[in-house]
């Protein structure tokens, strides 16, 4: 839409063909930590990268409803049931805020949903792991929401205004999720032998996948530099991962649970924990759709959508009739 008005003498960015003055002004605003708003000019690559990042985030919130939703009907107390139902509902709400943020960039909700259902769009691989016991609900809140907070808090200052504002709302709720997860773990850790066993087992299974949530190591993450410059990423994967480990290890100690990593040690000189190597082959396998529940998650989502088609059609038909009546 901009290229048509291009004046032939106007200098362009050699890689993208976009007007150089606009690109420079954009880069300067972003570097000055100003918010970019939907009607502002932005490079096409920025728009595309953001759509991909935000819609992937939205899909993760929606698919993330399943592993926890698996335990709502079986939650062991009424209080826990209510909190879990509210939490999963929050995640759906996060998905909606994020779809709206992506829509401001020109992506349509239908396109995004189609991309998820067809497997073209990705979501966080963590949700392809199964929730085997009630303790998994504690571990997810504590670790997975905990890792999500680490990832999302910096995004409250991301350069794209609608995304940053969505993140402010999301982060408020995520910290509540993290606390409720920890509270489940605490009750289990202080509980019977069977409960402690459940808690330790859940930590064993969720620890490494949680570390993988920060994405590949920095040296294998080619777009990091550009994303950092555009302020759509504000800290690197490895920095965030380290922060998470440093925050979480003392919490595990408080629970009396052990982190399943024999190489984990406090490094006095770094003032941080050293930890063992992550099995990236597992990460890439799960990304490719080889996780235990990869198929179930997407099948459940598609089924909900397909089974609901007649409801959406009925609602549309009713709305149309109502409008027609109002006109008449």
């Amino acid at each position: 839409m901009y290229t048509t008005e291009l004046d032939k003498s106007r200098p362009v960015d050699l890689q993208t063909g976009e007007p150089k003055d606009l690109v420079d002004a954009f880069e300067a605003r972003v570097a000055a930590d100003e918010f970019i708003e939907p009607k502002d000019w932005m490079p096409e690559a920025y728009r595309k990268t953001l759509i991909r990042q935000i819609s992937q985030h939205a899909h993760s919130e929606i698919i993330g409803m399943y592993p926890e939703g698996n335990w709502i009907t079986r939650a062991p107390s009424l209080q826990r049931k209510a909190i879990l139902l509210a939490k999963v509902q929050d995640e759906g709400g996060h998905g909606l805020y994020l779809y709206c943020a992506a829509e401001t960039l020109g992506a349509s909700r239908d396109e995004m949903v189609d991309a998820l259902h067809s497997g073209k769009a990705k979501y966080s691989t963590i949700f392809n792991y199964p929730t085997l016991t009630w303790a998994d609900i504690g571990a997810i809140g504590w670790l997975v929401d905990g890792a999500a907070i680490m990832n999302q808090v910096p995004l409250q200052r991301t350069s794209y205004g609608p995304y940053a504002r969505a993140m402010v709302r999301v982060c408020k709720e995520e910290s509540f999720h993290q606390r409720q997860g920890y509270s489940i773990m605490l009750a289990l850790a202080e509980g019977t032998d069977a409960q402690r066993r459940m808690a330790q087992d859940a930590l064993n299974r969720w620890w490494w996948p949680s570390l993988m949530m920060f994405g590949p190591p920095d040296d294998a993450s080619p777009n990091t530099e550009r994303s950092m410059r555009w302020r759509i990423k504000r800290e690197t994967n490895d920095e965030l991962r380290q922060k998470f480990v440093d925050a979480t290890v003392p919490q595990a100690e408080l629970l009396g649970l052990s982190i399943p990593d024999p190489d984990l040690t406090w490094n006095e000189t770094r003032g941080a924990y050293d930890f063992g190597d992550i099995d990236w082959s597992e990460f890439y396998a799960v990304v490719k759709g080889e996780g235990m529940c990869a198929k179930e998650r997407i099948t459940a989502r598609k089924k909900a959508w397909d089974d609901g088609a007649w409801v959406r059609e009925a609602a549309d038909a009713y709305e149309a009739k109502k409008q027609a009546r109002n006109v008449a």
């Binding site: 079986r74 107390s77 009750a187 088609a309």
Partner: protein, 251 residues
């Protein structure tokens, strides 16, 4: 064993809310749109909250040390006193919304009357829950209208849903000896007296939804006395199995 009508009244109210809340929570992640998913979760949350109040109250009145969780997770089918309507499976969205509408419309009238009973423990909970219940009744009536007057497919699904669920409506208004004692004790409401107002509310929605009120059917009852459909046993098995596997645990 003679049952305390005050405790039993609280139990019936709590069981209705609990079972319907549990049913609604089964929808989570499976609704026709994310927006609907969130609204079904809202309804479920309200009902689970009501269940916690009423079952807690039932336990307090009984005074045997049973709390809301003990009553929810450690009673068997024969002890559950919910009406048969709320335990009916979710089925499709038309069935879920029909069930909700038939129940919430009743619950709204019940709570409006109960907000005026002498016993503050009942009157206050009813009064507090009224705002929620009115919203449930309105939301489900809106869906009944939308589906009834939507497409041919949605209309037919509504007809099918009503065709089954209508037979559970009379149980809602049945008064047994325990209910009469509860009225005398200042905790209960004459439910039979709510029927005309219920019919008026229901008929208005039928008309707007372009649905025909079903003919009266052979009524199925028994829920208030612990005789349920086969569905309840499965619902309880799912809901109760973790606490029952760990009877000494706290969560």
């Amino acid at each position: 064993m003679r049952q305390d009508p005050i405790m039993q009244s609280a139990l019936r109210l709590g069981d209705d809310a609990l079972i319907l809340g549990q049913r609604l929570s089964e929808w989570c992640g499976h609704a026709p749109t994310i927006e609907v998913d969130l609204s079904l979760a809202n309804l479920g949350l309200d009902l689970i909250g009501q269940a916690m109040h009423f079952l807690g109250l039932a336990g307090d009145i009984e005074g045997q040390g049973r709390d809301a969780d003990t009553l929810a997770f450690f009673r068997t089918d024969l002890d559950f006193t919910n009406c048969l309507l709320v335990e009916q499976p979710n089925g499709d969205f038309a069935q879920t919304m029909t069930r909700q509408w038939l129940y919430s419309t009743y619950q709204q009238l019940l709570f409006e009357a109960m907000a005026g009973v002498e016993d503050a423990r009942f009157a206050e909970v009813a009064d507090k829950a009224l705002k929620e219940v009115r919203y449930h009744a309105e939301l489900s009536a809106d869906w009944v209208i939308r589906l009834g007057d939507g497409t041919d497919v949605s209309h037919q699904k509504m007809v099918d849903a009503l065709g089954w669920l209508w037979r559970f409506v009379p149980e809602l208004f049945q008064m047994d000896e325990l209910d009469s004692l509860a009225v005398e004790a200042g905790v209960g409401v004459d439910k039979a007296a709510l029927r005309p107002a219920y019919d008026a509310a229901i008929n208005a929605v039928f008309e707007e939804a372009k649905l025909t009120r079903p003919d009266d059917q052979r009524t199925l009852t028994g829920g208030r006395h612990g005789h349920h459909s086969e569905h309840l046993g499965h619902l309880l098995a799912t809901m109760q199995h973790i606490p029952r596997s760990h009877p000494d645990a706290r969560w």
